[in-house]
């Protein structure tokens, strides 16, 4: 049926999940409705208290707000407060077994924020800092959203809406139900009850842990630089150490990361050399988890009067999940307010946005495949390192490989854009040249 269902004055929207996707949806739906002259109600239903420390308030994430998202939010007038940003990142330090080099931010500005989704790791005593998720939820509250604390336990479709019930006995019929539930399998079942064709995203396990080192040690050993590792270790596609206030967050991305893989990464020389020699890292680790990430978008993530957004639908492979949440949430809000909330409306105006993310992820997979080849080749890694070191002394518009690596590490640009830049003949020529130079120098020194 190709019929549109339009929202009107008095329409009610429920957003299940108050993470970034849910809050962005609520904020923009209310903003668009206000500009359009439509009076709607938006309820955000969230069971978590993001103001809690440790796993209770955490949404298990590396905690980076990308350069491109920061720029979009700034243009929207959303300026992240100082007490939400744990540190402004101004460079990336790339570590290989062959050496390390710093890649500077393109405009000498701090354009990337590190933050905690909840209040922070278990035992955090920094009371002046705020949770990122709570900040966004408060922002949508100020815009007019009602915050309801609770967990949805039942969803029921009726001819003119969807009825939600929570564990606490709250019950209400909505014109639209938005699922921003991350990768929560239990809540996915509630959406399958009202949309049996919904297939949840495919996932893999990652690893995140925090090291409580204190500001002085972090300033000395990490500074305002995010440290990224391209090491020849099984299952790990990418490892990073992110400085945040008194903590450093370690993130490992790849396939099915487990304890042994984490131990091998921590024991590797390039990683160990980032930390002071005399400390046992296990004594400084208050929190660790193995969260899942979206590696293949959901299918049929919408139906009449229901839609899933953020990680629950389509995300960006390995990087910038919050940026993808912003993109899908805004696309869903635009569709709901200006077009309608039927399956047909979402298919025409929301699905293309998810399709673009999914297509971009195919290119992303290829980029990470090439990265894996480089990770396994000491010769190529030497060439890469030589090239980046040389480029950092050149003008900014001649740093071809540095800009490719910057956008790959930060997740700021679509993978398709990054891939196109890797086809630049100058980049290819320089990489080949530096690889051969490295080989010749290596042979002569032997």
């Amino acid at each position: 049926m190709n019929k549109s269902i339009e929202l009107k004055d008095g329409s009610q929207i429920a957003v299940i999940g108050g993470g970034p996707a849910g809050s962005f949806f609520a904020y923009f739906a209310l903003d668009f409705a206000e500009r359009y002259g439509m009076d709607i109600g938006v309820d955000i239903i969230e069971g978590k208290d993001f103001n809690c420390a440790g796993p209770t308030g955490c949404n298990h994430c590396g905690g980076i707000v990308s350069e491109s998202l920061i720029q979009s939010l700034s243009t929207e007038g959303i300026i992240l407060p100082s007490n939400v940003i744990r540190r402004g990142i101004e460079s990336y330090t790339m570590h290989l077994e062959q050496g390390s080099t710093v890649i500077e931010t393109p405009l000498n500005e701090q354009r990337i924020a590190s933050m905690f989704r909840g209040l922070g790791p278990r035992g955090i005593k920094d009371n002046e800092q705020l949770s990122f998720d709570n900040y966004l939820m408060e922002l949508s509250h100020q815009k007019g959203a009602t915050l309801i604390s609770g967990r949805v336990t039942e969803t029921k479709k009726t001819p003119d809406g969807i009825v939600l019930k929570t564990k606490d006995g709250f019950e209400k019929k909505y014109d639209l139900v938005v699922g921003a539930v991350g990768l929560n399998a239990r809540t996915f079942k509630l959406f399958q009850q009202i949309n049996p064709s919904f297939v949840p995203p495919k996932t893999t396990k990652t690893h995140i842990c925090e090291f409580h080192l204190g500001k002085d040690m972090i300033n000395e050993y990490f500074g305002n630089s995010m440290h990224v590792f391209l090491l020849n270790l099984p299952n790990i596609k990418f490892g990073a150490l992110i400085p945040k206030g008194n903590y450093v967050t370690m993130v490992l991305l790849g396939s099915d990361i487990n304890k042994e893989i984490v131990a091998a990464f921590l024991e590797s020389e390039p990683v160990r050399s980032c930390f002071p020699e005399d400390i046992d890292l296990n004594d400084y680790m208050p929190c660790q988890c193995y969260p899942s990430i979206n590696i293949l978008g959901a299918k049929s993530a919408f139906d009449d009067r229901m839609i899933l957004i953020g990680d629950s639908a389509s995300s960006k492979l390995y990087k910038n999940g919050i940026g993808a949440a912003y993109i899908t949430a805004k696309a869903a809000a635009r569709t709901a307010i200006f077009e309608g909330v039927s399956k047909h409306d979402f298919k025409k105006h929301y699905q293309p946005v998810c399709n673009e993310l999914d297509r971009d992820n195919i290119i992303g997979k290829f980029i990470f495949l090439v990265t894996t080849v480089i990770q396994k080749s000491p010769i190529l890694k030497k060439g890469l390192l030589r090239m980046v070191v040389k480029e950092q002394k050149k003008e900014k518009n001649k740093r071809y490989m540095s800009s490719v690596l910057w956008d790959t590490f930060t997740g700021s640009a679509p993978y398709t854009d990054i891939f196109k830049r890797t086809l630049n003949p100058i980049l290819i020529k320089n990489l080949i040249g530096n690889t051969f130079s490295g080989l010749i120098i290596g042979t002569k020194s032997k």
Partner: protein, 120 residues
């Protein structure tokens, strides 16, 4: 300035953009205040003061022309640059990103009209 705010730190009196110079970036104030100054006459005329979340330099996004005013930090200020290319690429996919820009430009036009009326 000890805050964690993002952007580049400009010291008191430091120029962010200079009247008469070419420029193609938009700037968004993350923290602090800037002064917008007309330097075309013999004496400097302060046209406006802008604070957190406000932007300037928007003409550079849409016109290939020189900056129409000088903008200077009043006290320490942290300012974020929005690249022209990134802006156009994003707005191509999501035109609603321009709503606030249009709203603010409309406000500024209204203010200018008001000032002109008061001068008559």
């Amino acid at each position: 300035m000890k805050s964690n705010k993002l952007g580049r730190l400009y010291q008191n009196g430091e120029e962010v953009i200079k009247q008469g110079e070419m420029g193609d970036c938009l700037y968004v104030i993350q923290e602090g205040v800037v002064e917008v100054i007309d330097e075309s006459g013999e004496k400097e005329i302060k046209l406006a003061e802008l604070g957190e979340s406000e932007f300037f330099g928007e003409m550079g996004l849409f016109e290939k022309d020189v900056r129409s005013c000088t903008v200077r930090a009043k006290g320490d200020a942290k300012i974020m640059t929005i690249d022209k290319r990134n802006f156009y690429k994003t707005i191509q996919k999501d035109p609603s990103l321009a709503y606030r820009l249009l709203e603010k430009m409309s406000n500024r036009l209204r203010e200018t009209n008001k000032k002109l009326r008061n001068k008559e």
